[in-house]
Subunit: 324 residues, 2 copies
């Protein structure tokens, strides 16, 4: 690592550790809920000529050793020319001297992993203990990863995939089956939702993917798709039905999440959400009955990004030290 | 360059070309004045426990091939432990696909060079043609570089250095003399200013460095130090005396520059500035008399950063191609 200031995807993959990541993301969500993040509002760049967008975040934790600047891009015409939609990089600096430390060319994987980890933590915290069927809505990279992370957290559950394009749902379910996941594709999003005890939405949709009445009593929903103004996956009526609305960051979820859509349309009050960090750090159950609807609205935290970057840098330093 | 996605200071130094940089910075200032920059507001992080700050910028030019994310840090206790105050990096991505292209670990040099280039362009455009004595206020890296860039633009001029710490002014003038610059240190900022036909202020000061009455009629002032709220180098009375107040970006100079200080204190009207880009692209003279006070208030442009990054990346690609 001495001169290897640049870390690529292969090196990151070599340090991948689901249990460690889950634990550090839990800690990052809790630390954020306790006000330990220092971070200015997210920045955005839009490339209208190329149907592209870029999200920027930066921040540090009070008393923390590092600060990060994260760039994530999404250019939605890229697949037409054989390129991935997402790219990005994460720069890491010392929070005590400002000196550059590393750039992680993660191609978006650190964000993918921490988002999947946060999703599964939220579902474990709020879904019924007897959850048997988990619907994954969407058929992209985040749908795939949420399935893996939820399969690890719910080893006895069965998965159903629902996507706007049923062909893509079939393709993803086949791919997941090859990894040993008990999963099938449903013909529609509605069918997948109706079968589910827990629903994970992972799309860049801009309107509700299914109706509130499609969702059975007692269902938990983790929504990770909406991360900027104008995006929406959930029916506000469903948000209004929820006994618990967990948000990873109150302000971000108002500005960018499902919670904000329901607040702006008058379905729920602005102060009716509960901090996901408080839920994760609490000894008590937030779900009070087996018929409760519970929702986790996740917009992503810079504290998660900082914790991810630090973990991988430290892992790489350790492995480099032992290999010498 | 194929795999060399990381560019260090040595490589950048190897491509340094003052005339090319001056020309591209001129183009970037003009392009910005014509509304061709797409850039969200600057982001800032403050590290109060370590007297540190971090500035972030990002953006692209309409029709341009690249976008940049620039991080510049300043940690003012660093010299106590033998570290430089400034660090930073510049990430470059494709503006058509969002894919990561390069990270330039410039240790702040691209910013230093483009700031010095912009300063000398402004002085050439607004100072009297018979400028003989140029005062450089400050004794840091930007003071040194502004001297070099102005010496190239005003080959017959003589330089005087004035700094809050006269010892530092002497040290800098000795160092500059070794590079063949005709320069001497003055005992005080006031003495340097009184001797000058043009004044370049380069400090992180938070109040006026000298009084308006110290400045002779006909003097031009280029102020590059103030780049964030709370910083100030010029006496607002001096700003009020100016026949021409050139700003590189009207909004930034209101928020962060000398112009904003004078506007907020009621010394000048908010619409009395002239775009530096318009001045640089104009055929006509903006200085109307040899007794005019003229001021250029520079806060730095992301268009300059984009042009700098593109120039160095292209130079490195070319040199890599020819060496194969």
């Amino acid at each position: 690592m001495q001169n290897a200031k640049v870390v690529g995807v292969e090196e990151l993959n070599g340090c991948f550790d689901r249990s460690a990541i889950s634990s550090l993301v839990r800690g990052a969500i809790i630390a954020h809920s306790r006000g330990q993040t220092v971070s200015p509002p997210m920045g955005e760049l839009h490339f209208n000529a190329h149907h592209g967008e870029c999200h920027l975040r930066c921040g540090y934790m009070l008393g923390g050793a590092r600060f990060v600047v994260k760039v994530v891009t999404g250019f939605y015409e890229n697949p037409k020319v054989g390129l991935p939609v997402n790219s990005g990089a994460l720069m890491v600096f010392s929070a005590t001297t400002g000196l550059f430390e590393s750039v992680l060319l993660d191609e978006g994987w650190l964000t993918v992993w921490r988002t999947a980890a946060a999703g599964s933590l939220a579902t474990v915290a709020l879904a019924r203990k007897d959850t048997k069927v988990i619907a994954i809505i969407g058929a992209g990279q985040q749908a795939e990863q949420q399935t893996f992370w939820h399969a690890a957290a719910f080893p006895d559950a069965e998965f159903v995939i629902g996507a706007r394009d049923p062909e893509k749902a079939i393709a993803l379910s086949k791919q997941l089956q090859q990894h040993g996941v008990r999963v099938r594709a449903e013909a529609s999003i509605q069918a997948a939702v109706r079968a589910a005890d827990a629903i994970i939405t992972t799309t860049p949709a801009t309107k509700a993917l299914f109706q509130s009445e499609d969702v059975r009593p007692g269902t938990h929903i983790t929504a990770v798709g909406a991360d900027s103004a104008g995006k929406q996956e959930l029916d506000p009526l469903l948000v209004a039905r929820a006994k618990v609305i967990a948000t990873d960051d109150h302000t971000q979820c108002i500005e960018r999440g499902e919670f904000g859509v329901a607040v702006r349309q008058g379905f729920v009050k602005e102060d009716c959400d509960t901090s996901l960090g408080d839920i994760l750090s609490s000894e008590s159950e937030f779900r009070t009955g087996s018929d409760d609807i519970t929702i986790a609205d996740l917009t992503g935290l810079v504290s998660e990004d900082i914790a991810m970057a630090s973990f991988f840098i430290d892992q790489l330093k350790t492995s480099s030290a032992t290999s010498q």
